[in-house]
């Protein structure tokens, strides 16, 4: 956390550039496969290697995936986008240029909605464009090794407007984007695998000032926590410099997560000129009605739409928010609601899903996708509880057994003979027996020892192995004990 007094006079301004690896089977412009962890340089071909005479052929799948994100962020989508060449010399870029987009990007003017402290915060997206990834250099001793497996992999770069005001907000932006791209099934977005990468532009300015301060660009922040830590660190660094009367140098800084600090990588004042121009090997990317129709059809209900629907259904906002944190969770919930028309508000289902099922999955170290308990079975347990076949307490036992064994809840109930006893005549008999056997306690209760009521309920439950309907039981006990 940043000490509050430090920001008394200074306002941080943060913009993010996030690279999202698209989940295509082959590379953006060539047939090589996309895989994580393959032996170095095993996923290459003459195009990836930039061999003379090779030409890029655009993978249309990448376009469809990028368009999903464009639609989901309500971006303006260009009917004719263009690829441009961005030139720089480095061994991770075999052609000497990266195929990217420049002044004619696929998407512009979108937004991403975050929920911060219970409030919706809309962050504008300047653009979303398609590009290819570079390879990876590793430096070991006197040698530099180049692995081009990642070179040419399809990415989208999502550029936010510089309008976030705190590291929390930036970290939440990353979480929201992570959630969205996974929700849309356009990326695995595993930060550890580099499928979601973030560069942050950070500046501070005097409160009340409109003009932006000099910014620095932070690189290598590849976890949600690092996004938070690196930006906080940079804000503090800049404010301290400015408070000391120094000025900020426009530069790129590399975050060192181990040491919790950043160091200057290169000064932007000697910045390279990328010499962008439209790639003559690639015709314009035409987005027509047919393509958009297919994209719209492929689009699932979006997280925010679903959040609203859940609120209308009757869920608490917190539960709704948890449910939309992951698409599989929301899908599970919807399937359970569908299988259990008795709980149209979904409250009971949400409750069981978020406490019982997630608790059990957590204990097993499993994700919702790996659940051994399908939604229909969870609904069945709930139905048995609701129609009075079993008590809620027994319900939890049935849930656990069904979760463990995979057996149908009704079969377990049958087998264990735990159906609830709701028959009044049968319960009268038991109540009579219990009261007769405990006449001393019955007298004590009659003389005002209210606390003993629970004792009688417990005795009835004990006599029925917990199967007595608790509502009817307490009703009968009241009648029998006279109060």
């Amino acid at each position: 956390m940043i000490p509050e007094e430090l920001l008394e006079h200074w306002e941080p301004v943060i913009g993010l550039e996030v690279h999202v690896q698209l989940a295509t089977e082959s590379k953006a412009f060539s047939p090589s496969a996309v895989k994580f962890g393959a032996p170095p340089n095993s996923l290459t071909d003459p195009v990836v290697l930039g061999m003379p005479g090779t030409l890029p052929a655009f993978n249309r799948r990448a376009l469809e995936l990028a368009l999903r994100l464009g639609v989901a962020t309500e971006s303006k989508i260009r009917a004719r986008a263009r690829f441009a060449r961005k030139h720089y010399f480095y061994p991770d870029q075999p052609k000497g240029y990266q195929i990217s987009q420049y002044d004619e990007p696929l998407c512009e003017d979108g937004h991403l909605d975050l929920i911060l402290a219970g409030e919706v915060r809309r962050v504008r997206l300047t653009r979303i464009h398609l590009e290819e990834d570079a390879g990876k250099n590793t430096h070991i001793g006197a040698f530099s090794h180049v692995d081009l497996n990642r070179a040419g992999v399809a990415l989208v770069e999502v550029v936010s407007a510089p309008e976030m005001r705190s590291a929390d907000e930036a970290a939440e932006f990353m979480r929201a984007l992570h959630r969205l791209v996974r929700w849309l099934e356009i990326s695995e977005a595993d930060m550890e695998k580099g499928q979601l990468r973030c560069d942050a532009n950070v500046s501070v300015r005097r409160r009340g000032e409109d003009r932006l301060g000099t910014r620095t660009e932070l690189k290598n922040i590849n976890s949600f926590r690092f996004v938070q830590n690196a930006i906080e660190h940079e804000i503090v660094r800049q404010v301290r410099l400015l408070d000391d009367g120094e000025r900020i140098i426009q530069e790129t800084r590399l975050w060192d997560s181990e040491r919790g600090t950043s160091e200057s990588m290169r000064s932007k004042e000697t910045a390279e000129d990328y010499r962008y121009f439209p790639d003559p090997d690639l015709p314009p990317v035409v987005v027509d009605a047919v393509l958009m129709g297919g994209v719209l059809r492929s689009l699932p209900e979006l997280p925010n739409q679903r959040f609203d629907r859940y609120l209308k259904l009757g869920l608490a906002a917190d539960d709704a928010r948890t449910l939309i944190s992951e698409r599989a969770l929301a899908e599970y919930f919807d399937a359970a609601v569908k299988a259990h028309p008795g709980d149209q508000s979904g409250r009971m289902i949400a409750n069981w899903l978020l406490t019982e099922l997630l608790g059990a999955l957590n204990a097993d170290g499993k994700t919702i996708e790996e659940t051994p308990m399908p939604a229909e079975r969870l609904s069945e347990v709930l139905r048995l509880v609701e129609d009075g076949t079993i008590s809620g307490k027994i319900g939890k036992e049935i849930f656990e057994e069904s979760y463990r064994t995979g057996d149908a809840p009704s079969a377990i109930v049958e087998r264990r003979g735990v159906q609830q006893i709701s028959d009044e005549a049968a319960l009268w008999e038991i109540v009579d027996q219990v009261v007769a056997a405990n006449s001393r306690q019955a007298e004590a209760y009659a003389s005002g020892k209210d606390g003993l009521f629970g004792f009688f309920v417990g005795q009835v439950m004990k006599a029925t192995s917990g199967r007595a309907n608790p509502v009817i039981t307490s009703d009968l006990l009241h009648k029998r004990l006279g109060r």
């Binding site: 003379p52 005479g53 010399f89 075999p94 000497g96 962008y276 121009f277 003559p280 690639l282």
Partner: protein
Amino acid sequence: MSGPTEWLSATETAQKIASGELTAARIVDNYLARITNVDRELGAYLAVDGDQARKAAAEIDRKRTAKEPLGPLGGVPVALKDVLVTKGLATTAGSKILEGWIPPYDAAVVERLRTAGAIVLGKVNCDEFAMGSSTERSAYKKTKNPWDTSRVPGGSSGGSSAAVAAGLCAASLGTDTGGSIRQPAAFCGCVGLKPTYGRVSRWGVVAFASSLDQVGPLTRTVRDAALVLEVIAGMDPRDSTSLDAPVPKYTDALTGDVKGLRVGIPHEYFEGTIDDEIRAAIDRTKAALVERGAVMVDISLPNTAHALPAYYIVAPAEASSNLARYDGIRFGKAASGAKNLLDLYLRSRGAGFGPEVKRRIMLGTYALRSGYYDAYYKKAQQIRTLIKRDFDQAFQHVDLVLTPTTPTAAFRFGSKSTPLDMYLADVFTLACNLAGLPGISVPCGLTVDGLPVGVQLMGRPLDEATLLRTGDVIEKAVGLGSRRPGGRS
């Protein structure tokens, strides 16, 4: 058949092999022997692949015996400009920076030639990265014009034109970015066809300027050019700029009939300095066409004068980008003794590129600088649009446009002393590339010094057929007939 086989056209060669009159083995042996005898003096070839050629010939002869189909170019020996990538055969693009590179794949046109039964004899010389108009810019050797060895064969496909003219192959493929097929064809008395941009796949063509480059045939006859184009044309998913249009049977277009054909004569092309003998040859060509029923129509292509400056922005800009990949690390030659990465780049590129290539990289880098893009590259692209519009308008009134291919016949080595002089040698051929149109150069006579003259025909997009039909008529009326360079045979 007895006697020399090296002067047979590609069409005749294929026919005689198919009919069993000649074996592919004999044809290939004759060419290889002739290359040994003649090319030491001429310098057309950079690499000859005799073993592979003999093997391929044996395979053709086996197929013929087994009555298997030989393909439209079955047994026809070809030479490939060294910017065309050949699997297992060194490809240098005429540059030291690619020295020693053995490509792992074939260019699309090479695949198509091989599938059609053609036999690759070897790789022929060119200006480094196809940047030049005389083949003097090759980093490896000088190629001489077979008609007069004190003169250049043209360029950049000068190895192709010299080899075809001197009977060192039956046909050749070149590339044309601003005239590099048509101009050397004119200088050496061959037919040279630059197809419509996108007609032929650029996959495997070492890129010079991507929006202008196109592969095409250099041949001894128009019919051969039609035959080769039929083989190499067509959509290729690996080249996103290749056109998805059906490939007509171009050889069927050679009807010999030009009655009613409307031939546009753009006055802008005839206003500058053109040698009298060239003018005379063009006039004779026009007259021959008129005699056969064609109609000459005066037209205007007002933006012609802007073609040269626009070209010298677009082509170097794209070249500076396309040549960024040559760092000596993954292929070609890396400089030794580098102290760090930047030093490696500077040394490898400094030693690997020749002066003309460096000049164009600098021109192009300048034109693409941040803040200058609008003033240079973008403006040049706008000029292209205007030039294309000129042609579109002209083609509403005429079927094709006729001009000289070059303002002069082949010039002497070293006579174009400044780069600008050299650039001006292409003044008639640039517009065709900028507009993406098909163009052909067909021989239309000799000067008094015995140097060939070429006439250029430019047509509507994808209308190579009309160019070939007209070229065929010109060839028969005013072509070189049986005249061969230097009396050699």
